[in-house]
Symmetry: C2
Subunit: 340 residues, 2 copies
């Protein structure tokens, strides 16, 4: 059942039927009703390929997926996706993942824009002066950044959490508890979120005349093993930290293991706070010692990004509004006063 057939059945032109269905004003209410009714009865659904060719709109949102042998997709991605999908489902939006060589995403961005494969894209894990951002900005496709970049002349729309504030709060708590030697086990410090978190910790320390020692900061990809290694190194040195702030629950698993291996205890010998993106399959309250966290649901962020993307596509949202979500500090058993 296509437009031609439907319009023929109704003894109307394709123009009128099309307009009736798409809500244009130059069609009488009575005709519109007739059309909509017939369309429903016959299960007419406009062919998206045809519509896309005619309008250039695809009804899909895009994400360029960095891939490669040595490239691992972040496990956070799936949670973000849950949220995105949640929203997208109720709006019949599809998501197209365009895999790209991690070292050359530009080609892919250009392709999907030139081909009008998607109506909007989102960008995640941005870095300062991220080239993808400059690119999509000049390409002129609607987009939203999940996270933030830095060092651009122009503004851009984004959704981020207050990483600096969160880690500031966490570090401040630890300082208030008397800790003098803090360490930060961070994610990849080429990404903005990690930079912000470090900034937050430094600011909290500075407020009490403390500093983050050169060797008291690690940044690597967030695996259990890297968490373990970092913690081992930190805790075995002289002047070991009495408190650690850690950028992910997965790394925190490794920290906990290291502490155990060294015969130390939490929070007796070490206080630990980690950031929790809220995974359904690993919860901080279920750590051997319930873990204090800075918490922000990455899933909700996914839903919000989808919502704003949809708004931008339909012209409801304009300009470069940035949105920063506050982060909860949830105190559990893994923090205590500094050992004497």
């Amino acid at each position: 059942m296509n437009l031609k057939q439907l319009s023929h059945m109704l003894s109307l032109s394709q123009t009128t039927v099309s307009r009736a269905l798409n809500g244009y004003p130059e069609v009488s209410e009575e005709t519109r009703r007739r059309v909509i009714d017939a369309a429903k009865r016959h299960g007419y659904r406009p062919n998206p390929s045809a519509r896309r060719l005619a309008t250039g709109k695809s009804g899909m949102i895009g994400y360029v997926l960095p891939t490669g042998n040595a490239v691992d997709i972040d496990p956070h991605f799936v949670e973000f996706l849950s949220g995105l999908g949640d929203y997208a489902r109720s709006h019949e939006l599809d998501l197209v993942l365009s895999p790209a060589d991690a070292d050359d995403q530009e080609t892919t961005y250009r392709r999907i824009v030139a081909n009008r494969q998607v109506d909007a894209v989102y960008i995640s894990s941005p870095r300062p002066a991220d080239r993808r951002l400059a690119l999509v900005n000049t390409l002129g496709i609607p987009f939203i950044v999940h996270g933030r970049s830095e060092g651009f002349e122009f503004d851009y729309p984004y959704l981020d959490i207050d990483n600096e504030g969160a880690f500031h709060e966490a570090a401040r708590l630890l300082v208030q508890l008397g800790h003098k030697r803090l360490a930060l086990i961070n994610g990849d410090d080429r990404e903005t979120f990690a930079i912000h978190r470090e900034r937050g910790v430094r600011r909290a320390l500075a407020a009490s005349g403390l500093t983050l020692g050169e060797r008291h900061i690690c940044s690597t990809t967030m695996t259990e093993e890297n968490g373990y290694r970092a913690a081992r190194r930190l805790l075995e040195e002289s002047g070991a930290p009495t408190a650690i702030v850690c950028s992910s629950l997965i790394m925190a698993l490794g920290v906990v293991r290291a502490v155990r291996d060294l015969g130390l205890t939490i929070p007796g010998d070490l206080s630990l706070v980690a950031h929790d993106d809220v995974f359904p399959w690993l919860r901080p309250e279920n750590f051997p010692v319930p873990l204090s966290t800075t918490r922000s649901s990455i899933r909700l962020a996914g839903a919000r990004v989808a919502e704003r993307l949809a708004a931008r596509i339909s012209g409801l949202e304009e300009g470069a509004r940035g949105e920063v979500w506050p982060v909860d500090l949830v105190v559990r058993g893994s923090v205590a006063g500094a050992p004497v």
Copy 2:
């Protein structure tokens, strides 16, 4: 730059240019060379929307993503995706995720097939007599199942690992080590993989005249918490198992925690084997006691599924070939002889 312009520059018809580019035989080699050369020089790329409208082919593969408030996407998904993306990238295949109400995926399947949005789909986490399978089979879109279903009259193409064999091997090893009371902490037993794993364990036990006690089998979604709960329950009862086989590394985290909480040790009091899908961020050799595993890279499976999907789209693969990958049993420190 579109076909019209390009053909005009070359003083050729659109027909000939199109054919030259698409490798049709009725064009002379010299002309073809000229055309291809000019296309490259002017950066001509056929418009996919137009091509799609004309041919009905989209150059994309599809996946229906079950979503909903209470629905969590499996963390394995992201690893599978890594592999899929790896292959898809080198073949300019995009993946479109169509979010669907988890309880009504049929509508979405029908939509993407009717709209010809994708050239093929894959289905994951199948159950016995899975309705999605019957559906895509009748809808006539090329597909591959990652995993297996059961109880159909028809054959279908799939890629699966030898879950039964793997868990048979694991259980057999434990039996050989003298364990009489085994338990299985499984995934959701409505899914085929879980059924196969249980079958494997039972078969190994039966071979030595043993059985899997009614209360020695748990099946739930594979979270750390559920692993913990299951292990607690098992180990606190009288006649507690001396060995556990566990369907996921994430659940195994919970098992290890339970063992610790109860003041027991691995492998002294309990031997543990888990299935490892090979996550980059959590490795069995890094467990407090290195974990014995049945190992199979879900990422490689993703790449293979993409490869076969591409082959089916282009008609290189036909029929309902099933492919079952063997699984490695990797023995590490978490297993030992049964306690006396």
